[in-house]
């Protein structure tokens, strides 16, 4: 009698605890969703406002446009000296060069740091790590003088060539971490088969590095696409403007009257970043996490 009562009591307590646990989880989910919505609300509002007539943007905090104005996109596309795809194209040239440069140059350097023993390795590795933290603003003036002596101001070279010289050391570090995790037996067996270092790098390590290369490509795309400072410094010719520079021209030239078209073009500017984020978030998350943790 006493024991069954006890077990019944225990079962009831368990059920109670489980219910309370479920309630707690539910509340947590609600809290997290509410917080996430608050964070994303400005973005959603911008998307919705890009379809509103300008005067409604300043009256409607809600997300559903009461009046659709898809013409914002047409108007924004043609508001500047060049149609907007001209600026998108400029940005894409720079982005493509930067991605290619980072993939090649950073992986070469990473192979040396991860797999080869050479004199001064420790010191060079420390310099490489230190250069990750170096703000571009510190070196921008001499860089500008260098590139202007080369006649490279108002060309895309200052934004592309440095990437082929592995200046974005962050990605070297990312790839070093990744290559260190690959089994060395692969290199050794390739060496026994007579492969030199370049063959090992190109045929063995690079194919296995695909996740790290994908992370590098996606980050380079997003960072170069979003970059404003160096593009502002090196590109002053309005015809060479990239998407961020075009948006800035838009803000300066249009004044208060055409926020709708400006929002529409801002949405266009964020679109590729959002797309890459959706497609590659696994790589992005892993990329950030592995650089933080040794």
């Amino acid at each position: 009698m006493a024991t069954t009562e006890l077990t019944q009591q225990g079962a009831a307590r368990d059920a109670e605890r489980r219910r309370r646990g479920r309630l707690k989880r539910l509340l947590m989910h609600l809290g997290l969703i509410a917080f996430g919505l608050t964070m994303l609300y400005p973005l959603l509002w911008m998307l919705s406002s890009s379809f509103k007539p300008t005067e409604l943007i300043f009256k409607e905090p809600g997300l559903w446009p009461t009046e659709f104005e898809p013409g914002n996109y047409v108007e924004g596309w043609t508001a500047l000296r060049n149609p907007f795809h001209h600026y998108i194209f400029n940005s894409l040239i720079i982005v493509a060069g930067a991605v290619l440069g980072n993939l090649l140059a950073c992986s070469l350097a990473a192979y040396a740091f991860a797999r080869l023993n050479f004199t001064g390795k420790k010191a060079f590795f420390a310099i490489m790590l230190g250069s990750i933290m170096l703000p571009v603003h510190v070196v921008i003036v001499p860089q500008y003088i260098l590139f202007s002596n080369l006649g490279w101001i108002n060309t895309f070279y200052p934004l592309i060539v440095p990437k082929f010289l592995a200046v974005d050391a962050f990605f070297i570090f990312l790839m070093v971490q990744f290559i260190r995790g690959l089994p060395r037996e692969l290199d050794d067996s390739a060496r026994i088969d007579g492969c030199g270092h370049f063959r090992i790098y190109w045929r063995i390590i690079m194919p296995l590095c695909t996740p790290a290369l994908a992370t590098t490509a996606i980050f380079t795309f997003i960072w170069t696409w979003n970059d404003f400072f160096s593009q502002l410094v090196f590109l002053t010719d309005p015809d060479l403007a990239t998407v961020p520079l075009a948006l800035r021209q838009f803000v300066d030239s249009q004044g208060q009257t055409s926020w709708g078209p400006l929002f529409a073009m801002s949405v266009v500017a964020l679109g590729p970043v959002f797309g890459f984020f959706l497609a590659g978030q696994r790589y992005l998350v892993r990329g950030i996490a592995t650089t933080g943790i040794k």
Binding site: L134, V138, Y201, F228, P244, S266
Partner: protein, 321 residues
């Protein structure tokens, strides 16, 4: 080096020659590996010399000149640095930047850690929440988001519209008000807490579960577990994020540039250090002075990082000690 211990005491002559040839053989191999390594590193060396270290040295030299890009530089000694001492706009920009860094970075880290802890509890839908919170980090530095901020915090912007629903009236345009403009940019930085959050999440994953089990057996409550296990074991990650976020905050530029229309206004309240450097160097082509500013920035960041490293000895616990 350290590992080449003397082996057994009696060494046969044959052994010695064998070892010598092996060592010589190794050094040939080593030379070949050196050459291969330097070839692999050649682009990086070139970049280091031309794009990184060269310019650092060059800007030090330029900081002692009055270079303006149009005329050849004249050596003016410490004049630029003396000018910095009584340049009220520079002092203001330092105040603005330090306020921004010291207010926003703690908020970013606290929020990142808090949400990482909540998400680490094994809730369903972790990848979803992680992505939602991470997205602003990717967008935060872009011109489009700066434009959005300018409108959201404008006189008739989203913030005032929402506050209007709660009966607030005659609200200022936050981005246009000298007292609040910096605050809106601080909020923008806090909004991008997602990437340190992901690093925290990865760090939390590495804490062995048995510590918590042992603590639970000993009857430690959740607060006790947080302060005695999670926090100490996470200190290296907190430190890493602190350094990263501090340096990132110091480099804020495009948000301030767009929100203020490239002026650092209203009343220099968003005149970040980097923006001031840009205006001196590329607005006024006062490149000697801008170089001095750049070197000072390097010193500030190196100094802050050094202070962080020294302080870290007192609060960061690495697993091996």
């Amino acid at each position: 080096m350290v590992s080449t211990k003397p082996v057994s005491a009696p060494v046969a002559p044959g052994d010695v020659t064998a070892r010598l040839t092996r060592r010589r053989g190794k050094s040939v191999l080593q030379k070949r590996e050196n050459r291969a390594a330097y070839l692999f590193l050649a682009p990086w060396f070139l970049g280091l010399a031309l794009i990184t270290i060269g310019p650092i040295v060059a800007s030090l030299v330029l900081s002692f000149t009055d270079y303006s890009l149009l005329e050849s530089p004249n050596w003016i000694g410490f004049e630029n640095y003396e000018r910095m001492l009584d340049d009220p706009r520079l002092h203001n920009s330092l105040r603005v930047t330090f306020t921004y860094v010291f207010v926003s970075v703690p908020f970013v880290l606290a929020l990142a850690l808090a949400l990482a802890m909540v998400l680490d509890r094994g809730l369903r839908g972790l990848p979803f929440y992680r992505s939602v919170y991470y997205l602003p980090s990717l967008l935060g530095g872009s011109v489009a988001i700066a434009i959005l901020w300018k409108i959201v915090f404008g006189t008739n912007g989203l913030v005032n519209q929402v506050l209007g629903l709660f009966g607030f009236e005659d609200l200022p345009g936050w981005v246009g008000h000298p007292d609040y403009a910096l605050g809106t940019l601080i909020i923008l930085n806090v909004w991008t807490f997602g990437s340190p959050m992901i690093i925290f999440l990865a760090g939390l994953r590495q804490i062995p579960h048995m510590y918590y089990e042992a603590a639970a057996v000993d009857g430690a409550g959740s607060m006790r577990r947080f302060f005695s296990i999670t926090l100490p074991l996470l200190t290296p990650i907190i430190f890493f994020n602190l350094i990263l976020e501090t340096i990132k905050a110091f480099q804020t530029f495009s948000q301030a540039f767009i929100v203020s229309g490239g002026t650092g206004g209203p009343a220099d309240s968003t005149m970040f250090y980097t923006l001031y450097l840009y205006l001196r160097g590329f607005g006024a082509f006062d490149m000697g002075y801008a170089s001095a500013l750049a070197w000072f920035l390097l010193m500030i960041i190196a100094g802050l990082t050094a202070v962080n490293f020294i302080a870290s000895r007192f609060w960061v616990h690495y697993g091996d000690d």
